[in-house]
Amino acid sequence: MTAPFLVKDAPLPYCKGCGHGLVLRAIGEALESLRLPPAEVAMVTDIGCVGLADALFASPHTVHTTHGRSTAFATGMALAESVLGAGRLKPIVMIGDGGAMIGINHLVNAALLNADVTVVVHNNFLFGMTGGQNSAFSPEEFITATTPAGNAVPPLDLARVLLASRATFVARKITSDRDLAGVIARAIAHPGFAVVEVLELCTGFATKWNPLTGAQLKQVAADAGYELGVMREESRPMFGEAYRTRSRESGASGSAETAAAERDRTARYTAEMRTAQRLVLAGTAGERVQTAATLLAQAAMLCGLEVTQKNDYPVTQGTGFSVSEVILSPEDILFTGIEEPDAVLVVSGDGAKELEKSGVLARVTKATLVLADTGVPLPELPCTIQRFPFRGAAGPRSAALAGVAQWLDLTAALPKDALWAALEARFPGEAENTKAGLEKMLGTA
């Protein structure tokens, strides 16, 4: 025996004749008829008069949420339960027309996901609790507190929005429909997202200001072009099922986070580095500038050094400049920016322009080593600019790496073998060729 869903004979906190009481009773009847264990039902209520319903439920869980967001909370609950739990929880959202509009995103999303959530929209054409203001659901010419001369805007057809959002169960009913509880029961029993919009009277405001009675609700629907009844009832996999299938498949491919290949277990090379080296690499987006910086960083890590790497690129990502700042240090690295660079490697005009614009070139000192591609224009600097045919010798996509190799060749900051090892780990297929090309360049430089 399960406890009844609704508190027996509870006085309703609603105005006389308000549709909310009728819908509440229909939901209660629907739940009793389905014989669901109450522990597997969560009544998720929105704000407004409809949100007063929590206290009227005796046995299921009740969750009273914020304005318009009830469906999002319910979606989280349902999805978590379907993937991480036993998959038995059915959240039932009770929301008004105001909440349905401000939270329409959440309804659309739950419908698209086919989350196992039932939404009952209590559409009384206005905001009741706050004093009878018009909503997106107010019929044309409707008098409300905020449309004293009659509403000029046609009402939203939510059911059609949700049909277009691939909802698998969509119905629109009127409070007086004899099969209201039956349709709500069908919606709750439906596996996946179900919405029942119920047209009802607000006797606090709507019927005071408009010549509206229960008998006229059908006409209101007709005037708004609303279809009534069950508009769709079909089946589609719920998000939780689809998710479980896909995660099983992706699990088989192994975790990138735990892949041993990504990890550097031991320092295999030795670097005679006594103070930190701060480098700026600049080139063109898409030409592996950041990759070259990462390979340098990884090479330094293979020597047991600490590293940081900061990348910068335009908002558009794929065009314009690409700049990486790398710090290599025998000690823990504190400030990750570069006040005075030890080396600046410039392999394209885009890179040079950005370094000038961002002020990096202004921070170049006499002690800075500037290595630039032969064709890249640079302003006069306090140090000598050393020119190399990075682009010509290595090609645009290896020019930055050529700069790195050249810097290592000049400074012996790290053994080049560490760079080749990092290259081999990252690009096993092409490392040999790239390395041969770069060594040839270094040999002729």
Binding site: A55, H61, V63, F73, G76, M77, A80, I333, F335
Partner: protein, 385 residues
């Protein structure tokens, strides 16, 4: 310093702070993530989407249609008993605030990683900032304290995300992991083998005997025992001011007591939550305080001034809220001056610290649109000397 060679750890990786937030969350036992893309936090979202479904985590990562949905879904999942997190930046954080208040009021644990940057969504997406520090704090109606942890490097991203989960679960309250673009997006060498990987303890659960009274606490300093929505005990959760039963009530002494309890439980654990790194120097007349990315520049500045024979104390804050009052007061003892370095225009955290500074000089080193360099802090210290 001798050149370093040979193994220094067993498992070093080149990894970003963002990725370490995601890993810290998974290590803490996070099973549910719901996200929405925004630079500079997107990598957390993306990492969770890739990693959380894998068998070793067996979690659920969800693409939300907006930031309000992202946090609301997390709160829903947490109510069903699963550790949950979302990640965003300032513009998304603004949208999440009401839902955060709801988590606070319903005593629902949830972690929000906020990776700071400039401006609204049209602002400086790829420019770092520490400008949301008070927005994470003073965003509740009622003056409640949201615990805020601020990492300054990739390792701390991992560790403090675990701390965020631990306190969120322990006190059943929303907790913010406040990172920034520089910390989040910079790649660093990290000895990942040395990290603590034990899941954080689960929130204290209802024993299952007797009737469940959802907001009945055992003392005002502890959260009520938890029962999941969907479990056998009937849960009544509400964002309205409520009594122990979860019934909407106004102004009754019981309701007021519960409203105060939401703060009492945080305040009672403030000292335990305070994570700082303190390096005090005897005879120092200046204390430098900083957090997040700027703490690294501040530390470097302090090192430089000490090399130049200035006596300077240093305090890095990893817990921003509740304010680590005891640590700050202790560190400032004997100092005439407190320098607070942070990357926002007016010294937001400095104003939160001001009451602790007393009649000492409070010097703010601020900036916007660029990382604060050690040189700028050094300059301030030289001038103050």
């Amino acid at each position: 310093m001798a050149p370093r060679s040979g193994p220094i750890g067993d498992c070093r990786e080149l990894v970003s702070g963002n990725r370490m937030v995601a890993r810290g969350a998974m290590a803490a036992g996070c099973r549910f993530f719901s996200g929405y893309p925004i630079t500079p936090s997107s990598e957390i979202y993306q990492t969770m989407m890739e990693e959380l479904p894998r068998p070793e985590h067996a979690g659920l990562a969800l693409a939300a249609p907006d930031e309000i949905s992202a946090l609301a879904c997390c709160v829903g999942a947490s109510m069903a008993g699963h550790k949950a997190m979302t990640a965003t930046s300032g513009p998304g954080w603004c949208l999440m605030i009401e839902t955060l208040q709801y988590a606070l009021m319903t005593e629902t644990p949830v972690v929000i990683a906020v990776v700071q940057r400039l401006g609204p969504s049209t602002g400086g997406a790829t420019q770092g900032a520490q400008g949301d520090v008070l927005l994470t704090q003073f965003c509740t109606s009622g003056g409640y304290t949201i615990p805020v942890f601020a990492p300054s490097n990739a390792r701390e991203c991992f560790e403090l995300t675990r701390s965020a989960f631990a306190w969120s679960e322990r006190l059943r309250t929303p907790v913010v992991l406040l990172s920034d673009k520089e910390v989040g997006m910079t790649l660093e060498s990290v000895d990942t083998a040395a990290l603590e990987r034990r899941p954080v303890p689960e929130r204290a659960a209802f024993s299952g005997t007797g009737r469940y009274v959802p907001y009945a606490c055992d003392g005002m300093e502890e959260p009520p025992p938890f029962a999941p929505v969907g479990g056998n005990a009937k849960v009544v959760a509400t964002g309205s001011a409520h009594d122990r039963e979860g019934k909407l009530r106004k102004n009754s002494p019981e309701v007021i007591e519960l409203l105060v309890h939401l703060q009492t439980k945080i305040a009672a654990h403030a000292e335990e939550m305070a994570l700082v790194e303190m390096d005090l120097q005897e005879g120092a007349d200046t204390l430098v305080v900083s957090y997040g990315t700027t703490a690294r520049a501040a530390r470097e500045a302090v090192n430089r001034r000490r090399a130049a024979e200035q006596r300077v104390s240093f305090l890095k804050l990893m817990t921003l809220f509740p304010v680590a009052s005891a640590a700050i007061t202790h560190a400032a003892e004997g100092c005439r001056r407190v320098v607070v370095a942070e990357e926002n225009l007016t010294g937001l955290y400095a104003s939160a610290m001001q009451p602790l500074v007393g009649n000492r000089e409070l010097l703010r080193v601020n900036g916007i649109g660029n990382q604060i360099s050690p040189a700028r802090i050094v300059e301030a210290l030289e001038r103050a000397q």
